[in-house]
Amino acid sequence: MNPAGNPSMPAGAPAPLDPMSLPSDDSVNAYTFCVELRGSQWFLQKGKMIAYYGSIEFNGIGHGRLDRLVRTSFHSPLHASDWVVAEGQGKMLLADRAFDVNSYDLEDGNLTIRSGNLLAFQPTLALKQSIVPGFLTLIGTGKFVAASNGPVVFMEPPIRVDPQALVGWADCPSPCHHYDHGYLTGVIGGVRALTGIGGTSGEEHQFEFVGAGTVLLQSSEALMAEQATGALPQQAGVPGGQGAPGQHGQRGQQPGQPRLPGQLGDLQRRFGL
């Protein structure tokens, strides 16, 4: 395959994406989602836009012109500072810390999702705070984008879910807490509860779902460590990135520092001194 007639491209390499070949409101790969704006608006969480083509304006919730939009489709003052509205013409790529990203369509439905997992949604949906703390509910018709650690697994109730693994749920009327400490009863259990010997299983508390609906699960909510972008790796041999400070403090040249007389400058670095 020689994409787009580019002779320098090696055969079999993936075609580079341009504004024409980027999908419209669809996933680019498992980790990136592309939103097409044609004078329309999208709500997105701050910092989840990674690139865009065209002219797109990003305004925080509370920007005067957006009052009407916010009044109809944003009902979560708690999260107002985390959200912006993208508006304009072009294509916008969304991603979140290498998590799997998926889009979901709601048709006159409702879905509740962990607030940190929701990346973006169309203003045809209304965002509301769920009764369950830390969760947001989307009501209406439209598309939204959510991130998850590993692909999302859909399960049918009745099911009990570890709170950390829960991404969200749709149409389930009765999420409730379930406590299970059967092993803490009886004589041995009493000793266990009093002394703490044996520890806890860590699974005493679950969310229980019954009734008709769908429960969305992820592998874990443990987040990957965020790394500062643009930082040079702290390794020997990487220009600009000095080894661990202190260890290599005497060696090499700090980039911003004036060079001391008697030093060999770049020649010194070339010999690794």
């Binding site: 590993g150 697994v153 570890d162 693994a165 299970d180 874990s220």
Partner: protein, 227 residues
Amino acid sequence: MPFREINSKMVEATILPGQRLFSQRGAMLAYKGDVTFTPNIQGGQGGLASMIGRRVANEATPLMTVEVPQGLDDQGGTPTGTVLFGHGGHHIQVITLSGDTLYVEADRLLAFDGTLQQGTMFMGSQGGVMGMVRGQVTGQGLFTTTLKGQGSVAVMAHGGVIEVPITPQRPVHVDPQAYVAHHGDVRNKLSTALGWRDMVGRGSGEAFQLELSGSGAVYVQASEEKL
């Protein structure tokens, strides 16, 4: 066998009444049916001696027993439990054992069949002092956990896992940091390629390699990060 891979980071275990399995504490994601989770003081199988052995060897990972009580459920059928396991967003590899022994670090164990025999092995027993050095380099320490018998094991790794078969003619060299587990009749030794370049800090970064020979398989993760 009880483990089914749902995706790269989640496995599903189906438990019949009377069956049990061990899993790392806090690794349950969701379950259906009447399943009990009991913290296991002993950290696995065997009696008090095995427990003390594991404590001394520092291979005592907090485990819990997952089981379905025997008897009939409300509808008069046999109750079956379905449990989803996953932990920390790590990739999971299911290894099925048919009579041979799996060598793995205890903290990499996500869940394993209750029928498997759990043991602790002293690294020095394979190659004496060199075995101990090997344990230090691979991060295994002086001891490692063994699982033996018929059944399957879910092992965690950072990044995806590749299974590399080992045949008598073809020994396999593995980066000690990417080593996850191995099973079968395998001898391993640490091969060093230390030279003066490593001494002056200009080495290739691949001075230590784990050489595995014999017949079996080694599991390697696509990352040099420890769990």
